[in-house]
C-alpha cells in the first residue's frame, strides 16, 4: 500500500517514521561496524555523544561555533555585497561581461583550498586569510547567478518597463532586479553552502579557533576521534540549519513566483 511511487499523501506518522527509522538504521550500522571490527581508533555513536557532552561542558564548543559563523558571515557578506552589484552590472552590459568572462571562467573552477598559500602571503596566518578564502568561494556563484538572472529576464518585462517611461536606473531597480531576484536567491543559497564548506578547511590551516580547528586540534592532541566525529556532525547540523533558514527567503511573496513546487 505505501509503495514508493504512491501518489497519495503519506500519512502523518509515516512522514516522521521512515526518516527516523533510516537514521536509526544508520546509527545501528555504525555502532555494530565499530563493534565487529574491534577498532580502537574510530568511535561508536555513543562515544561521540559522550564527546559532544564533554565539549559542551568545557564551554569551548560555543566559542568555536560563533567563530566559524562569524567568519562565514563576513566572507559571505562581503561576497554578496560585492558580487551582486558586479553581477547585475555584467548582466546588464553583455559587452562588459564578454570582456571579463574568460578571466572569470578560469578563476572560477579553482578551489578556494588551492588559494590557501596565496591567502597566507596576502593576509598572514589569521582570520583575514580564512575570511578571504570564504569570500572567494562565495563570490563566483553569486556573480554568475546575478549575470544569468539578469540575462534571463523576459524581454517583455524590460519592454513594459521602457514603455512606462522608466529611466535606465529605474528599469534596473524596478524591473530587472525584482525579476532576477529568485535566481539571485538561489545563487546566494549555493554560495552560503560553499562558504560553510570552505570555512572548515580554512580553519584547519589558517587559524586556531572554529569548528575546523576543533577537528584538527582534537586529532593532533591525543587522537580524540570521538571529538573529531562530534565536530563533524555539528558542522553537518549547522549547515543544514543555515540552508533551511535561507530557504525561508524563497517563501517571501514577491519572489515566490520564481520557485517551483511552492504553493
Amino acid at each position: 500500500m505505501n509503495s514508493a511511487n504512491s501518489l497519495a499523501e503519506p500519512k502523518k506518522w509515516e512522514r516522521y517514521f521512515w526518516p527516523l527509522l533510516a537514521t536509526a538504521l544508520f546509527l545501528a550500522l555504525w555502532h555494530f561496524s565499530v563493534r565487529w571490527t574491534g577498532t580502537r581508533i574510530f568511535p561508536s555513536p555513543l562515544e561521540v555523544e559522550r564527546g559532544m557532552a564533554e565539549l559542551i561542558r568545557k564551554h569551548v564548543l560555543w566559542a568555536d561555533i560563533v567563530d566559524s559563523l562569524r567568519r562565514v558571515a563576513i566572507g559571505f557578506g562581503a561576497a554578496a555585497l560585492l558580487g551582486i552589484p558586479i553581477g547585475l552590472t555584467l548582466g546588464w552590459y553583455p559587452a562588459a561581461d564578454q570582456v571579463v568572462n574568460p578571466t572569470m571562467q578560469i578563476l572560477r573552477p579553482i578551489s578556494p583550498i588551492a588559494w590557501i598559500p596565496v591567502a597566507i602571503i596576502f593576509f598572514g596566518v589569521g582570520d583575514n586569510a580564512a575570511i578571504f578564502l570564504i569570500f572567494l568561494g562565495a563570490y563566483f556563484p553569486i556573480v554568475v547567478a546575478c549575470i544569468n538572472g539578469v540575462s534571463n529576464v523576459p524581454s517583455m518585462y524590460r519592454r513594459a518597463g521602457r514603455n512606462f517611461g522608466l529611466t535606465p536606473a529605474q528599469l534596473l531597480t524596478k524591473v530587472i532586479f525584482p525579476a532576477a531576484l529568485p535566481q539571485i536567491i538561489i545563487g546566494l543559497r549555493i554560495a552560503l553552502g560553499i562558504a560553510w564548506l570552505v570555512v572548515v578547511a580554512a580553519e584547519m590551516i589558517a587559524v586556531d579557533s572554529g569548528l575546523g580547528y576543533l577537528i584538527i586540534d582534537s586529532r593532533n592532541s591525543g587522537k580524540r576521534y570521538d571529538l573529531v566525529v562530534a565536530a563533524m556532525l555539528l558542522i553537518g547540523v549547522i549547515g543544514l540549519l543555515l540552508d533551511l533558514a535561507f530557504r525561508r527567503l524563497e517563501k517571501i511573496k514577491s519572489v515566490r513566483w520564481g520557485f517551483r513546487n511552492v504553493s
Binding site: 519592454r159 513594459a160 521602457r162 514603455n163 512606462f164 517611461g165 524596478k174 524591473v175 525584482p178 520564481g258
Partner: protein, 265 residues
C-alpha cells in the same frame, strides 16, 4: 494590394484628425547574412479614437507592424508618425499590451496597476489604482499576486495597468489569444465598454476574424510574409453588434474569402 473596401461598403470615416500614419514602411530582418523581408510598403492612416484590427495569417508580420508602431522596432525604411511626430521609441502615452501576459509577477494587483504612476503623488496614485481595480472588476484582489489569478484576471490586470497611465493609444497584441472562449467574449465586451468610455485609439492584432469584425471600426487585412495590406474593410455595424445579423456575416465572410478560407469546417 488594393485598399478599396469590399463591394459597396464605402463608409468614409467620420473622425477627421489623424492619430497615426504609417508611411511607406518596409522592414527587413537580417540573420546569419540572410535577409527576410517582413513588411512590404505599408501605408495606413488611423484616426483619433478609432478601433483598428490587424488580421492576417499567423507569422505574417502583424506583430512586427504593431511593434514598429509602438516604437519597439524601427522600420528599415519609411516613417511612422503619431500626432504628426515621427516615432523614435516607446512612450508612456501609448501602451503596449503583450500577448504573453506582461504583468509583473513580483508585484501585487495594486503594485502592477500603480507601476506606471510613479510620478504621481501618493494620494492621487492610490485613487487611480482604486478606480481601475474597480473598472476591471478586481476588487478584493488588491493584495493578490498574479500567480494566484486566473488567465482572464491577469489579462484584465494588464489592461488596467495600461489604462491607469491614461494613454491616448493602446496597442494590443492578441491579448485574448490564450483565454478560453467564454472569457474571451466577456473580455471583448469589457474592452469595447472601456473604449466607449475613454475613447482611446486602439490598434488590436488578432488572427481571429470574428474577433476583428466584432470589435473594429476598420479591419486591416494583411497577406502573408512579407506583409502588405491586402484590404481595409470598414465595419459599418453599430455597437452592440448582432453577431447573427446578415451584415455581420457578410462582412466576416468577405474577409474570410479575402484570406482565402472557405467558411466551412
Amino acid at each position: 494590394m488594393s485598399t478599396t473596401p469590399i463591394a459597396a461598403l464605402t463608409h468614409p470615416p467620420t473622425a477627421t484628425t489623424t492619430k497615426l500614419s504609417v508611411e511607406n514602411v518596409n522592414m527587413v530582418f537580417t540573420r546569419d547574412g540572410k535577409s527576410t523581408p517582413v513588411l512590404a510598403d505599408i501605408n495606413l492612416t488611423v484616426h483619433d479614437g478609432e478601433f483598428i484590427c490587424l488580421v492576417g495569417p499567423s507569422g505574417c508580420g502583424k506583430s512586427t507592424l504593431l511593434n514598429t508602431m509602438a516604437g519597439f522596432l524601427s522600420p528599415t525604411s519609411g516613417t511612422i508618425r503619431i500626432d504628426n511626430e515621427p516615432v523614435t521609441g516607446p512612450d508612456a502615452r501609448r501602451i503596449f499590451v503583450f500577448q504573453e501576459r506582461g504583468v509583473f509577477p513580483w508585484l501585487t494587483v495594486q503594485g502592477n496597476i500603480g507601476f506606471g504612476l510613479f510620478k504621481l503623488p501618493r494620494a492621487e496614485r492610490d485613487e487611480r489604482i482604486a478606480y481601475y481595480i474597480k473598472m476591471v472588476g478586481l476588487e478584493g484582489f488588491e493584495e493578490t499576486y498574479p500567480n494566484e489569478l486566473s488567465g482572464g484576471m491577469k489579462q484584465r490586470l494588464e489592461v488596467a495597468r495600461a489604462l491607469a497611465v491614461n494613454p491616448d493609444m493602446l496597442f494590443l497584441d492578441e491579448p485574448f489569444g490564450a483565454l478560453d472562449s467564454i472569457t474571451r467574449l466577456i473580455m471583448r465586451g469589457e474592452l469595447l465598454r472601456i473604449w466607449h468610455a475613454e475613447r482611446k485609439t486602439i490598434i488590436f492584432v488578432t488572427h481571429d476574424i470574428d474577433e476583428a469584425v466584432q470589435l473594429a471600426d476598420r479591419v486591416v487585412v494583411l497577406n502573408s510574409r512579407p506583409a502588405s495590406i491586402q484590404q481595409i474593410v470598414t465595419i459599418d455595424i453599430p455597437h452592440p453588434r448582432d453577431l447573427s445579423s446578415p451584415r455581420y456575416l457578410e462582412l466576416r465572410d468577405g474577409i474570410l474569402q479575402q484570406i482565402g478560407l472557405a467558411h466551412r469546417v
